[in-house]
Symmetry: C2
Subunit: 767 residues, 2 copies
């Protein structure tokens, strides 16, 4: 269940004072009433107006210069040298008041003020507040929101310093989804050291949904919609994605939201959602509900299990439903969240994956390692995979020409035998005369196969112990059935194994699967970036991981302008049986070079984001129209609820910033030598830029004529020739523009992230 917190205002705290003798303090009383209303926790402002007044007096220049006095400066310096609160400046003083609550620091602190000295003093105050909160064992502190793009680096640097000095506590930056300024008549940035810093300019508590009936948004661009995320991105980057840095997404800005531009927050550590009553609108019955876009977004982000902080619910903003209705509405959204519901429903991959979200697993190497019986057991639970294999075998048998001879099948890499059982079922359904050869190289699983032959299959099958790349079968078969697929299709070396196994097949025989493809998409995920970095300590940075994605965002959009492809793109395909391979006397390929692959894919990146890696998927055609797929856009049509494969993740070591409307060019290699197979990957970012283009000419002829006609005094062989006329622009090649200049759109390179995987090592897949 989603955690819901009630936000206590300074008014709430004031009005709770001295009313009820059952509680030792007003805060304890408020905690108790909040719990009674159903809230899981509360969010308390740490300080009050008294502290604000003292800080202003000490740290901001008075409006009237005459008020300035030396004594104030002396007091300020004394505070700076030893910052401390007075008892009446804070709302919380006891451990039991702070226990399990979220504490909100003074939101009027301008860590990114235009004025350098205000920034310094705000940082000192922030450290004082955090130090006090730490004393009270506070676990989560919500920081004042960033406001001023020009000084975000200073804001971020201050937070980083706090993260290093304050232990244990999680610091959460309050960031509005949009800068509400873009929806309002432009207001000037608050002046340096202005006496009354206000958060209204960015945190739009003042702009309620009902206050303006029609809004005009002049000059709004992708960059402006992106501006608060861009600020957060600077903060996260400067704090090097610190594991105790998170974000409180402030949904105060009133615009109806749609998913696309908000998806980026799914890839961030969004731990709290700040949701004031003013964001709610009234439905026809005058009950508070959320605009459609906001609803959809909250339903989606609930899979990250954020705490929802409801604020202002007792201020009567909606005429019906009362204080409780906001809370109930959140519970309603949870019940209708597809992600949350899928996790609860047994049989879904989401349910199967509980506990494995964003958890990095090394891909299996079933060729090099012999799997455990328990591993087989887990995968044999798949409700879809084996059904589809049976269906594919059934259709292949039906389609096989009827002759006197019995049809020969081979299940190669049989494991504990689930595909053998399905093949026998398909034979019986198809009512055809058939026989199954069973090949397995795992000596332990081969015992299980013998057991099953004795008890179940009897003379319908013949078992063969050995590696399908070297073993010989007594007969050539008509249908070869294998399941050697990894999350990326070929990453468990299905192509290499099938190069051996196709020797069992008659020239016109069928391979199930008949082909498979690998697909990738550019991915952003602070969580996965941190996970991989954690693994880096273990010296494992160069390998792809199998992972159930959760806190991620696919950065690409549907391209299709001719230059870029779709959101998820195909890298390459393997088709079986393979044609045109040079074989040696034993029927095996001379080299493995025919199994190397390369893809160069161009993605359209509609919104700015940070690239952390590539998401990888596979899709296989078993036979005819029967397949297997974990491709996000197609899996539900091909093999819904199949649980055997999570996606694969190819991480980059260095994150790459991608501007909105950019292109990402990805190179992906499947490489091989005689001993192993591995992948490498690389990405470059480009931005289409309209630039002036000049047509120009350098006339060497006249220059060299000049040289010839000029008498030279010194006949030294090293004297200069007069080559071209003196160059005027020092940093440019001499150019003589012809006629009018034009503009053209060019792709300008804006960044790259270096090849992560230099030829394998830890990522080698052993042949």
């Amino acid at each position: 269940m989603a955690t819901v917190a009630g936000h206590l205002s300074l008014d709430d705290i004031a009005s709770a004072a001295d009313r009820d003798l059952n509680y030792e303090t007003p805060i304890l009383r408020l905690l108790s009433t909040s719990k009674a209303k159903g809230y899981d926790t509360v969010c308390i402002p740490l300080t009050n107006e008294k502290w604000r007044a003292r800080w202003k007096k000490m740290c901001l220049s008075p409006e009237d210069e005459a008020e300035k006095d030396d004594n104030t400066e002396r007091i300020s310096e004394a505070w700076r040298s030893n910052p401390a609160f007075l008892r009446e400046e804070v709302n919380v003083t006891r451990l039991d008041e702070a226990e399990n609550t979220i504490v909100m620091l003074s939101d009027w602190l301008e860590l990114d003020s235009q004025d350098e000295w205000v920034r310094c003093d705000a940082e000192t105050a922030l450290m004082q507040e955090l130090s006090y909160a730490s004393y009270l064992n506070v676990l989560v502190a919500v920081l004042p929101p960033p406001r001023n793009r020009a000084h975000i680096p200073s804001y971020a640097r201050a937070i980083r310093a706090c993260l290093e000095k304050i232990p244990y506590m999680h610091l959460s930056v309050r960031v509005p989804v949009y800068d509400p300024v873009i929806f309002q008549p432009v207001t000037p940035t608050p002046r340096c050291g202005s006496p009354s810093p206000s958060i209204d300019s960015l945190v739009a508590s003042g702009v309620s949904a009902t206050s303006s009936r029609s809004m005009s948004f002049p000059h709004t661009t992708e960059e402006e919609f992106n501006s608060t995320w861009e600020m957060w991105d600077v903060i996260r980057t400067i704090c090097e994605s610190h594991p105790r840095l998170s974000l409180t997404l402030d949904l105060s800005p009133p615009l109806p939201l749609t998913a696309g531009v908000l998806d980026k927050w799914l890839a961030e550590p969004t731990r709290q959602i700040f949701l004031p009553a003013s964001t709610f609108i009234a439905n026809a019955k005058s009950y508070p509900v959320l605009p459609k876009g906001t609803q959809a977004f909250i339903r989606e982000i609930m899979k990250l299990q954020p705490t929802i902080i409801l604020s202002g619910t007792n201020t009567g903003q909606h005429s019906r439903g009362g204080e409780k209705s906001y809370f109930q509405y959140i519970r309603h959204l949870e019940k209708t969240s597809p992600g949350v519901q899928a996790m609860k429903k047994s049989g879904t991959v989401e349910n199967f994956a509980i506990g494995y979200q964003d958890y990095l697993q090394a891909p299996l190497q079933p060729l090099a390692d012999n799997l455990q019986s328990a591993t087989y057991q887990t995968f044999e639970q798949d409700p879809i995979k084996y059904a589809n294999y049976e269906e594919a075998t059934f259709r292949a048998l039906l389609g096989w020409p009827k002759t006197d001879e019995r049809i020969l099948l081979c299940v190669a890499g049989a494991g504990r035998g689930p595909l053998v059982a399905r093949a026998l079922k398909a034979i019986s359904r198809a009512k055809r005369e058939a026989f199954v050869h069973v090949v397995e190289k795992n000596p332990n699983a081969f015992v299980t196969l013998q057991e099953r032959q004795k008890t179940e299959w009897r003379d319908q099958v013949q078992l063969h112990f050995g590696d399908m790349r070297t073993l010989e079968l007594p007969d050539k078969v008509d249908i070869l059935i294998t399941e050697l697929l990894g999350s990326f299709g070929d990453n468990e070396l299905s192509p290499e194994c099938l190069d051996g196994a196709v020797r069992f097949l008659k020239p016109d025989g069928i391979s199930i699967p008949s082909s498979y493809t690998a697909h990738i998409a550019p991915l952003s995920s602070t969580k996965l970036f941190n996970e991989v970095r954690g693994h880096e300590d273990l010296k494992k940075p160069e390998t792809p991981y199998v992972v159930m994605f959760n806190a991620v965002n696919i950065l690409s959009g549907e391209g299709g302008d001719g230059n870029t492809g779709s959101r998820i793109q195909e890298c390459w395909e393997f088709v079986h049986p393979t044609k045109n391979v040079v074989l040696n006397e034993r029927g095996l390929p001379v080299t493995n070079s025919h199994n190397s692959r390369f893809a160069n894919l161009n993605f359209h990146i509609p919104h700015a984001g940070v690239l952390h890696g590539l998401a990888g998927y596979f899709e296989a055609i078993l036979y005819g129209s029967v397949g297997l797929s974990i491709h996000p856009q197609r899996k539900d049509y091909i093999s819904k609820d199949m649980i055997s494969w999570f996606p694969i993740y190819f991480p980059f070591k260095d994150p790459l910033y991608l501007p909105g409307n950019s292109e990402l060019h990805v190179s992906m290699w499947r490489l091989t030598d005689q001993q192993r197979v591995w992948y490498e990957w690389y990405a470059e970012a480009f931005l289409p830029v309209m630039i002036p283009v000049l047509d120009w000419t350098v006339d060497r002829a006249s220059a060299s004529l000049t040289a010839i006609s000029t008498p030279l005094i010194t006949p030294s062989p090293t004297i200069d020739a007069l080559d071209v006329p003196p160059v005027v622009n020092k940093t440019e090649i001499p150019r003589i523009p012809n006629e009018s200049s034009r503009t053209e759109t060019r792709l300008v390179k804006v960044g790259q992230t270096a090849l992560h995987n230099p030829g394998g090592r830890s990522s080698w897949i052993k042949l």
Copy 2:
């Protein structure tokens, strides 16, 4: 002296065969004649046309499909599984032939071919050639040039694999300064697997300076002039700036060159310059000379001590001077290279710095550590610094009002006493009655001071042992002389020390220096990046270094469009004596917060490059117009040949790619607490982009009217309100464009490099 290599062509090798029985092989004969001509070494092609013919037959599809046969493919696969040369395919077979030579690999290998299989086979061939060269102990191999931008990642990946497999050998990528295609009618990219790959399309040996008298360059932009560097940048990046990866800059492209666009090559590991006779033009006497731009560039790059490979000098391209004249011309350029000459001339900082170019030194901490006598001795050798201090003191004394009282001076931080001696000299020159108090906290240096007082200064001075921040003097002085400056001005804590020492000064007293400023510029240097990375193993990544720059390039240009400043920009200033500081009862500041500083600087980046760090400089005003400066553009006017300070280097951990015509926003902090001072730095890149801007409106009013007028069936409090009309564009906020759309130029963020220095640690300067 610059190393000059003679390039041997296949014709040279052919014509040397079987002519002279004094030499065992033609190559040994050519080595001997090259040496006789004055060349330091030769550059030999490793393979010949026989190898090229075999490789083509094996690896390229025949033009005529009918020629295709299974047997060829069988031969190719055999080669792929075990690549090897035949004796007659290589020019070099003996260790003594290869000794100390540069070997050029088959330049027709297309590692970046459009055809995936050609790329694979070219990589196999490259590895075969390198393996053979390694067998012959070759130390430098020149690789085939990159040609095809679309497949440079594949080229780079292959080189990286070679660097990992081949030990010891330096691999040098041959890169033309420009893509000559931009100076020619556009030729189509060679087709996939075309039977005859040619290097002419990029390495413009075919375009001689005399072949076209007037050239037209349509559509040429910064990006196109940059294209070969951009290819090199991908290679260097994918190879992670491997220390054995270097570059052979090919100066074949014929355009007269000017410095600005070429400076980028100074920041790269440019180890060889390939200079064909065709690049030379004829002077009035018909001797071969280089165009002015090329001259200037070679003079400049000689400071990196590259090997100059002269080619085609025996092909009679110029009517006078003969083969020797090219060689002599190179020696002439060397003699007129300002960098080389400055290094040779004693008394210059370049000469003083020999052996220290690009060598990282930890900045001194004279406050925390007591310096050695030898360190004092080194710095006392400066011919300029002490002269300027004497002159400043002299002028301050002259300007001091004449009264009956003698003028009191104080030299604080006197070290071994050089400034005391100069102060006494200035007093004697100014013919004023004066007395000098001398303060020093280094107990060892204080012994030297006592020695000098006894033998030189006698009763002209009084010595005081102690820290100027705590010591008390018997009298207040008129002139306070200190030299506590670091390469960045304040980085040896001059401001903090002077906060203490100004207590010695009368209210109207003079401080020498009276002020100093810190300056930075964005820097590119693969060398320094690798040096810092080397230090990273020592866990010292977070500190600035003192370093004499050599293989570097300042990326900024003169801005001045209003948005960006100059090439080198001032961060901040310290003025002494400081005003308006709150002091405690002992006259010392209560906190050090007044010595914190911040700068936010915008640089114009005219040409694409990779940012590795910031170059830092200082400038000080001693008194009036007498100063000290290591600012590259001003030092020669203020304190020419001063040797005491090399620049400072603030490295970034992650390099940042900067597109041409971008803006770099740098944040720089000087931070302080009660125990220490440190710097932090951060950079963000922006690109001005013309984008369409729409004026638009979302009319909430009508939407909410719609909602009210629609009868709802279910009275549930959680049912949706109909907020806005359905959104058509899924990834965009609904927008209704008003009137015509316009374009505006906006700054789009394209990248950032994270704060390198998270609050100090190794970079703390101890107070």
